[in-house]
């Protein structure tokens, strides 16, 4: 039994190199065979259309990002297609269906919350079950609890930490107190 010397090592590495390239060739032809079948049977999606979609998407993003494009101004201050102007906070006035008072549309939700006894203070008082707490969300989060099916990537839930008002605002910058 000879000790491993340079010759043995190089023939070993040559051998493993050969085996590796055989394996690699085999895998490459496997993939080619699979793709051949997909193409011949017409199972591949229309690649040209997809390339076109990607191109359109990239073009769109470039155009929209271009600062020289007037693009979209903050549409809260523009005239809509019917030629109408609207104030940032909806000014229509109607009667609250719970208490009968006249309320301005843009402040209806906070009013209704208190009116129906569903306000933050009302909630803090009431005893809450743990499931109710789990279902509640922190504001504005694009997070959903309603997973219609379970997948292995679990549904993300944000725990509603402090029910504080800090930072709660409209996108147009007005800060609303509930």
């Amino acid at each position: 039994m000879s000790l491993p010397n340079d010759d043995n090592l190089s023939s070993h590495s040559q051998l493993s190199s050969h085996i590796f390239s055989d394996l690699l060739d085999s895998i490459i032809v496997d993939v080619a065979s699979e793709c051949h079948r997909i193409a011949r049977l017409g199972l591949d999606r229309n690649l040209e259309e997809e390339e076109e979609e990607l191109r359109l998407s990239a073009q769109a993003r470039a155009r929209v990002a271009d600062p020289s494009n007037s693009g979209e101004t903050n549409s809260k201050y523009v005239v809509d297609i019917f030629g109408q102007n609207h104030p940032p906070v909806a000014s229509e006035v109607f009667e609250c269906m719970n208490c009968g008072r006249s309320i301005m549309a843009g402040r209806f939700a906070p009013h209704l919350e208190k009116c129906m006894g569903k306000g933050r203070k009302a909630r803090l008082k009431a005893t809450r079950s743990s499931t109710a707490a789990q279902n509640r969300y922190s504001r504005g989060s694009p997070v959903s609890a309603y997973s219609p099916y379970s997948t292995s990537t679990s549904v993300n839930r944000l725990s509603n930490g402090t029910p504080s008002v800090a930072g709660e605002e409209y996108s147009n910058g007005t800060l609303e107190e509930p």
Binding site: S57, Q59, R61, S75, E92, A109, P142, E168
Partner: protein, 557 residues
């Protein structure tokens, strides 16, 4: 977008294959069936002799590609361009042109030097698969032999476009006539953009719109009949009437909000909320109300309430034991599909998917990529080992989702958040998602996914007979801008091929490009046959809403 046949096209055989079939029929296939060996992963190979490695009968070599002749079962190698003993064999022996690739059990024509296809051969391979597979929980439901004749039921379209036109136009009395009906701003009542954005999408979902506009749920008659005073479908009907009345002043959905808060205790609060959650909540409330009011369960268990008739589809989940190949299949209904964003991690299992590679190279995330991710076989973690009934123990498993039945209106929910367990916080993913205006869902159907699992053999799989077309057109996109905790929702509507931005009370016209570049959160697609995207001439026909001119629409959406 071409309406792609969800199934395959059987390619024409080469002359040599055709001659072979004429002479030998299925004999060779039946014999080779005995040599087929299937690994637990579903890989099909030809194994001639269990104890020996196959070698070429010419050179005794084992390198290159090995082919077994269908006539004489001799094995030849192909090491092109250096040597091609398979060709040699075919040239020296008359009639021995057709062989089978031993690595993948594919037919090969040695003279054409090309892979060829024959449905009868694929059927023989599939029979072996079926016989060898342990019974699934549902028997052989997933993999049974069926005739390849496909029924084509004409899908009961809710209304043809003439009726729809009449419906939509009859309410228009005062509209500024150059703009489509049903376009009306919704006042923000205080952090209610999440609600307004989804309402705009629902108002323009063709089957839902047609249902309410044709008085299938009349809020006046309903209140009289029902003892309960709360009826969310009634409030929705009121909104439809208001929005399609022709009045263009922004509408305040206050009654609706009040009603919804009375129905949904846990969501009733003045806070920014999640639009997707709201969408699901509304469908639940409609289902509750309609489920009680009528006998809404058909024999096959499908709920017939309008929410489900429009949005409900069926998902299939296959869990496969990696040791023995036993697959357990379950079906679950769904009203939408939540998709994880396909971030740029190249996947080694997606070698054959050209478009993913293309997108990843250009650094974009695409809807097709997300759908592929959704239907990709996924190895369940070692903490989620599945109890295999065949092996009678917990084994590593692969899970794969697919769509068994598509809904009329498909809502795709983009999960734009990621949770870091380390930092114990979530953040929003602002990454742009490319989505097509025309979407073909056929690659994600159960029939396509199952077929792919078996090597795309030409075989009639269950679910090939599909009543519903797989072509969809986008009609509404709900977008979100801002952060996880506070942001703003805006909906883009596509009416008669023009896009409109619905930002609470403000309705403006926008370019397609703005929509393409937007940050989509909920994308609503409708089956192409139900959409009315071609330009129509909506001439006002003075028809009374409940007059006889109406064709009674039974059993439609």
């Amino acid at each position: 977008m071409s309406s792609r046949n969800p199934s395959y096209t059987s390619p024409n055989p080469c002359k040599h294959l055709a001659d072979y079939k004429l002479k030998h029929g299925l004999n060779g296939y039946n014999l080779i069936q005995n040599y087929i060996k299937i690994s637990p992963h579903g890989r099909t190979m030809i194994h001639k002799c269990k104890s020996e490695t196959p070698i070429c009968s010419f050179c005794s070599g084992y390198k290159g590609r090995l082919y077994i002749c269908l006539i004489c079962s001799s094995v030849s190698c192909c090491l092109s361009p250096d040597s091609n003993h398979a060709l040699f064999h075919a040239q020296s022996q008359d009639g021995h042109e057709i062989a089978v690739d031993m690595e993948r059990a594919e037919l090969y024509c040695c003279i054409c030097c090309d892979q060829v296809y024959d449905p009868d051969f694929d059927k023989a391979v599939m029979c072996k698969h079926i016989l060898r597979l342990p019974r699934t929980e549902n028997g052989f439901v997933g993999y049974c032999l069926r005739s390849s004749k496909r029924k084509r039921l004409s899908f009961g379209v809710d209304l043809n476009s003439k009726d729809a036109k009449r419906l939509v136009s009859m309410r228009d009395h005062r509209s500024k006539s150059c703009f489509p009906l049903g376009l009306r701003g919704l006042n923000n009542l205080g952090n209610t953009c999440f609600m307004n954005s989804v309402l705009q999408a629902l108002l323009h979902a063709p089957p839902l719109r047609n249902y309410f506009l044709s008085d299938h749920h009349n809020h006046e008659t309903c209140r009289k009949r029902s003892s309960e005073r709360l009826c969310l479908p009634c409030d929705i009907d009121v909104i439809f009437s208001a929005v399609f009345s022709g009045d263009r002043n922004p509408y305040s959905p206050a009654q609706f909000l009040y009603s919804w808060w009375q129905h949904s205790e846990d969501l009733a609060c003045y806070e920014q909320q999640d639009a997707h959650e709201f969408f699901i909540s509304i469908l639940d409330r409609i289902h509750e109300k309609e489920g009680k009011a009528r006998n809404t369960i058909k024999e096959n268990g499908d709920c017939q309430c309008i929410a489900h008739r429009v949005f409900s589809g069926m998902l299939r989940s296959d869990v496969t034991c990696m040791t023995c190949g036993f697959t357990s299949t379950t079906y679950d209904p769904c009203v939408d599909i939540s998709l994880d964003l396909n971030t740029n991690t190249p996947s080694s299992t997606n070698l054959a998917n050209k478009s993913i590679k293309l997108a990843e190279n250009t650094g974009t995330t695409t809807l097709a990529g997300c759908l592929d991710l959704f239907t990709r076989p996924e190895k369940l973690g070692s903490d989620q080992k599945f109890f295999c009934q065949n092996c009678q123990e917990r084994q590593d498993s692969l899970k794969q989702m697919s769509i068994r039945r598509l809904p009329s209106v498909l809502c795709l929910h983009v999960k734009r958040f990621e949770h870091s367990p380390i930092k114990k916080m979530s953040r929003k993913i602002d990454r742009h998602l490319q989505f097509p205006f025309s979407l073909d869902m056929s690659p994600y159907l159960s029939s396509s996914i199952v077929r792919k699992r078996f090597g795309n053999r030409i075989f009639a799989f269950e679910g090939d007979e599909s009543d519903i077309s797989t072509d969809f057109e986008v009609f509404a996109v709900v977008t979100h801008s801002g952060m996880l905790e506070s942001g703003h929702y805006v909906t883009y509507l596509r009416l008669k091929n023009q896009w409109y931005k619905c930002d609470d009370a403000w309705i403006t016209e926008v370019d397609k490009e703005v929509v393409r570049a937007s940050q989509s959160y909920l994308i609503y697609y409708v089956q192409k046959v139900l959409s009315h995207q071609v330009s129509e001439d909506l001439s006002c026909v003075p028809v009374s809403p409940r007059g006889d001119a109406f064709v009674p629409i039974a059993g439609c959406c």
